[in-house]
């Protein structure tokens, strides 16, 4: 059985999937980031959400 934390993450992915401005590729990138076990950094998230702009965020 999933932990509450895993359930929250699953519903987070589901919500993201419903958002028009977020594509499946972006959700997969987020999943990969969470599952990588790396320390989460704001720049990593910013890079994923800004990937369509193909520009780095200062």
């Amino acid at each position: 059985m999933a932990t509450i934390q895993e359930e929250i993450l699953d519903s987070f992915y589901a919500k993201l999937g419903e958002a028009e401005e977020i594509d499946e590729e972006m959700v997969q990138a987020l999943r990969a980031l969470f599952e990588s076990g790396k320390k989460l950094k704001a720049d990593d998230f910013a890079a994923i959400f800004a990937r369509e702009a193909k520009e780095s965020i200062p």
Partner: protein, 421 residues
């Protein structure tokens, strides 16, 4: 649901040996202080989860199940401390005996080894809120209101969610800031483009109506559709590297600057007044300035926390969570400083935006000033533009805004004499 048929405890906490048979029913344990009542709760929790919550959490630094789980007389013999639980799952009608000892607390034996019972036990392990001890229930009642959510978050193993929320919030701020900068750049570029074409809006119809007559004069084919990648000067020969001078466009650029100049006296007036008031407050209260300086320092430190060692002073903490809590408390203390800091930076960003817009207008008229302006006017415009661009860049931090106080007082636009004339 798991029902407990029987409990057998050996050398755990304050209990040497005890057998009880709740018989799948709710049960009460009573006895004088120190007789080991809580030890029974600890034993059941340990049997089901491998953990004893009384030995974890706030105020339990240095306590471990391995070291403090066994009876005090068998402290060096964790293998002797053992709990057996005869469990029944009503949904499946299955019964099994679970045995776990402190030496190998992470694992347990199950006889018979039944998958349904293992699944039920795994659920309990992942949901510690199902096995709350009396001490924990009391803790959640008496804890300070502000701390209760943190304690419950820790109980539900949601600390990571809190961290993720914080990182996402920082990412959101970064992206919002990048979006604002991009929107301003688009707005300035749109203004310049509208002035150049002398159109009111950038609708396809209006832009094409302005472009196609010019293209016709040059003998270029008409553009029928405007798309994101459409080049309006497609077909124009590279020719001379020097850009052609467009008198009408230049005159409009000049008119744009003159129009803006009419509003210079009130441009950013409210933001400047508020900024000067805040800067005076800061200068009158050095402690406030110090709080702001320390706040950004501590915030930077908080973002750099990666383990139990403080990135600011190298001090080793018990664990990362305690260090984070300590730094967060420091940041929270400077609430007044934060409000002032936010206002200063917000007003600074507004003024910087005005400055960049004027610099954009100046850039547009520099070419006409070089050829047709009074002597020295182009150089004066260039200096003015650099002055405004430099000023806009110097409003990003509270310290920088403080350094620009004189410019705010003297009039930050600093219109050059020739333009005034």
């Amino acid at each position: 649901m798991i029902q407990i048929e029987a409990v057998k405890i050996r050398e755990l906490r304050g209990i040497r040996e005890l057998e009880i048979e709740p018989g799948r029913k709710s049960f009460v344990i009573s006895g004088p202080n120190g007789s080991g009542k809580s030890g029974v709760v600890d034993a059941i929790q340990f049997g089901l989860t491998g953990e004893i919550s009384r030995l974890a959490g706030k105020g339990t630094v240095g306590l471990t199940v391995q070291r403090h789980g066994p009876h005090v007389d068998r402290r060096d013999d964790p293998a002797a401390a053992e709990v057996s639980l005869r469990l029944h799952i009503p949904e499946t009608g299955k019964t099994a005996v679970l045995t776990r000892n402190v030496k190998t607390a992470k694992s347990f034996s199950l006889e018979p080894d039944d998958l349904d019972i293992r699944v039920a036990l795994e659920e309990v392990g992942q949901h510690p809120e199902l096995t709350l001890s009396r001490r924990e229930i009391i803790k959640y009642i008496i804890v300070e209101a502000g701390e209760r959510s943190k304690e419950i978050q820790a109980l539900l193993k949601l600390e990571e969610i809190g961290d993720i929320r914080s990182v996402l919030s920082t990412a959101k701020n970064k992206l919002s800031s990048a979006l604002t900068t991009a929107q301003r750049a688009v707005s300035n570029a749109n203004d310049a483009f509208r002035r150049h074409l002398d159109v009111k809006t950038l609708s396809e119809e209006e832009v094409l109506a302005a472009i196609n007559p010019r293209r016709k004069i040059l003998g270029l084919p008409e553009i029928k559709e405007l798309k994101a990648g459409t080049s309006l000067n497609a077909g124009v020969s590279e020719g001379s590297s020097q850009q052609a001078f467009n008198k009408q466009s230049a005159l409009r650029d000049l008119a744009g600057l003159q129009e803006a100049q009419a509003g210079f006296s009130t441009l950013g007036e409210k933001e400047v007044a508020s900024t000067l008031k805040d800067l005076t407050t800061l200068q009158d209260d050095p402690a406030l300035l110090e709080a702001i300086t320390r706040r950004s320092f501590v915030e930077r430190g908080l973002a750099l926390v990666d383990g139990a060692r403080c990135p600011l002073c190298d001090k080793e903490w018990d664990d990362e969570e305690h260090l984070r809590d300590h730094l967060k408390a420091k940041v929270a203390k400077s609430q007044e400083a934060e409000t002032l800091q936010k206002r200063l930076l917000h007003n600074g960003a507004e003024v910087a935006n005005h400055a960049r817009r004027i610099a954009g207008l100046i850039g547009a008229v520099q070419s006409i000033a070089k050829t047709d302006g009074p002597n020295g006017f182009a150089a004066e415009l260039s200096t003015w533009s650099e002055h405004l661009t430099g000023f806009a860049k110097a409003l990003a931090t509270v310290e920088q805004v403080l350094g620009q106080k004189a410019r705010f007082e003297e009039g930050w636009i600093a219109t050059p004499p020739l333009l005034k004339a």
